[in-house]
Amino acid sequence: MDLKEIYQVYKEKFNDKKLPYIECNNCKYNFYYPRNICPKCGSHDIKINESNGNGTIYSYTVMNKSIWAIVSLNEGFKMYMDIYGNNPEINKKIKIIFKDSQLPCGEII
């Protein structure tokens, strides 16, 4: 799988309102930011999965009333995203939603 294909699949998943991530078939490391080699073991044997969209807030900051966070997904990878909802706290559960943005966001459950 080359990088262009990865971005293409990501775009398709986003259009279907799904959160993609990459799993290394060799070392089983899961990661979100697209690379065609596993950042841990260097293997090119990777596949794209769909997250179940559940996670928790690892850390967050509120700027101009919008919430920016690092979210830890249940599949074990972390990523940045905008968060919607009230009273953000570390460890609070979120689910992935797609707002006006093409990109995945979190909603506090």
Binding site: Y7, Y10, F31, Y32, Y33, P34, P39, Y58, S59, Y60, T61, V62, M63, N64, S66, W68, A69, I70, F77, K78, M79, Y80, M81, D82, I90, S101, Q102, L103
Partner: protein, 382 residues
């Protein structure tokens, strides 16, 4: 050894960035008693926007040498953000030791005001241009609401509060203690009385960080001339050195408050504790706290209490950021490394107004890059 050093720092400089760098260069030459023709090496850095608004410049260090009329045998540009100048000092010392080069100019800075006025940072400068990308993952970021590096340090501060129960008050007290040093330094951009309440009542820009615990980007250059002979200055050199480059982006780090400074400092922890004063990178209050803990000066999670209970003035038990740090000097072109080095040289040469008594050894730590990826740790002494 450093034979000359100078700064030219302005809130907003009305002329070109080239004129600004020339000003600091000639001041440093004058201190060193050297001519332009004596400069045989040149090291600098480039960041988006800080050079008269340019996103990027081709063969940039060569063009600067051309403008300044210097003809070096060695040219380099380091790209570690804020601590680049510290890494450049180490490389310059090594080059001179290897022989064949006697004087190397380190020239670091730019115009932060141009970026500041566009309401972006150097990290988000690409957002102004549809077809410009400065990071490989831009398409997975650009629609989000974030302001790096501010938001990344805010995430670290929030996490630190959660893990170690550090408080907003503790960070505010650090800002107050640094301001007291700034007031005594005689060369601070921001001065006057500051209380913890002033800090806590200033706007929350990116929670939990308040306006008065965030550096203000300004226009400025620092020039340091590294030479075989220190000339009329003290014969100072780097005594201990480490650098670390952690390339994982924050979401892919196991722990965002365990930072690269833990590696860059780990070979000389015992020496760090014996220094006479400390200059720690202060882009934000939390930056200082993370370095206190990650360089082993205080145990993990204890920086807040340490700040509350420790005198950080020039005559205190732990003189820290004795010029007031870049929180008060302003941050020239989004980089604080030069501010730390400049104040260290004032102190070590007994030229500071807020002078530490018998200032013979300083520990300097710089942090930079995409959040906290690069760290440079060093002790300078005679």
């Amino acid at each position: 050894m450093i034979s000359g050093f100078a700064e030219s720092v302005y809130k907003k400089y009305g002329r070109s960035v080239y004129e600004l760098m020339e000003e600091s260069f000639f001041k440093a030459l004058d201190m060193a008693g050297l001519q332009r023709s004596d400069i045989q090496g040149f090291i600098t850095t480039f960041m988006p926007g800080i050079f008269d608004d340019n996103v990027y410049m081709h063969f940039f260090p060569d063009q600067v040498c051309n403008y300044l009329g210097i003809h070096p045998k060695y040219i380099d540009s380091l790209d570690y953000g804020g601590p680049s100048v510290l890494a450049a000092l180490y490389r310059a010392e090594r080059l001179i030791k290897n022989g064949g080069i006697d004087n190397i100019l380190l020239l670091f800075g730019g115009k932060g005001s141009l970026v500041r006025e566009k309401k972006v940072t150097v990290d988000s400068f690409e957002s102004l241009y549809e077809n410009v990308t400065n990071t490989p993952y831009k398409s997975l970021f650009r629609e989000y609401n974030y302001t790096n590096p501010l938001s990344d340090y805010a995430l670290a501060a929030q996490r630190h509060k959660y893990m170690y129960k550090s408080t907003d008050e503790q960070r505010a007290i650090l800002a107050v203690k640094q301001r007291k040093n700034a007031n005594a330094s005689g060369y601070s951009m921001f001065s006057g009385n500051l209380s913890a309440d002033d800090v806590l009542n200033s706007s929350v820009i990116s929670s939990p960080l308040h306006l008065l615990e965030i550096v203000y980007p300004v226009d400025g250059f620092h020039a340091f001339i590294v030479s075989k002979s220190a000339g009329k200055l003290r014969a100072l050199k780097i005594q201990n050195y480490g650098e670390a480059h952690w390339t994982d982006i924050p979401p892919e780090q196991n722990d965002i408050i365990l930072i690269s400074a833990s590696e860059s400092s780990n070979k000389f922890r015992n020496e760090i504790k014996k220094c006479d004063f400390y200059e720690l990178y202060d882009s934000f209050t939390i930056t200082v706290m993370l370095q206190l803990e990650n360089t082993g000066i205080v145990p993990k999670g204890k920086s807040g209490k340490f700040i509350e209970n420790t005198s950080m003035s020039a005559d205190g038990e732990f003189p820290l950021n004795t010029g007031g740090g870049s929180l008060n000097r302003g941050q020239p072109a989004y980089m604080s490394g030069s501010v730390l080095l400049y104040e260290s040289l004032l102190q070590l040469n007994n030229m500071a107004k807020n002078q530490v008594k018998s200032a013979n050894k300083v520990f300097i730590n710089g942090i930079g890059g995409w959040s906290r990826n690069h760290s440079v740790s060093m002790i300078i002494g005679e």
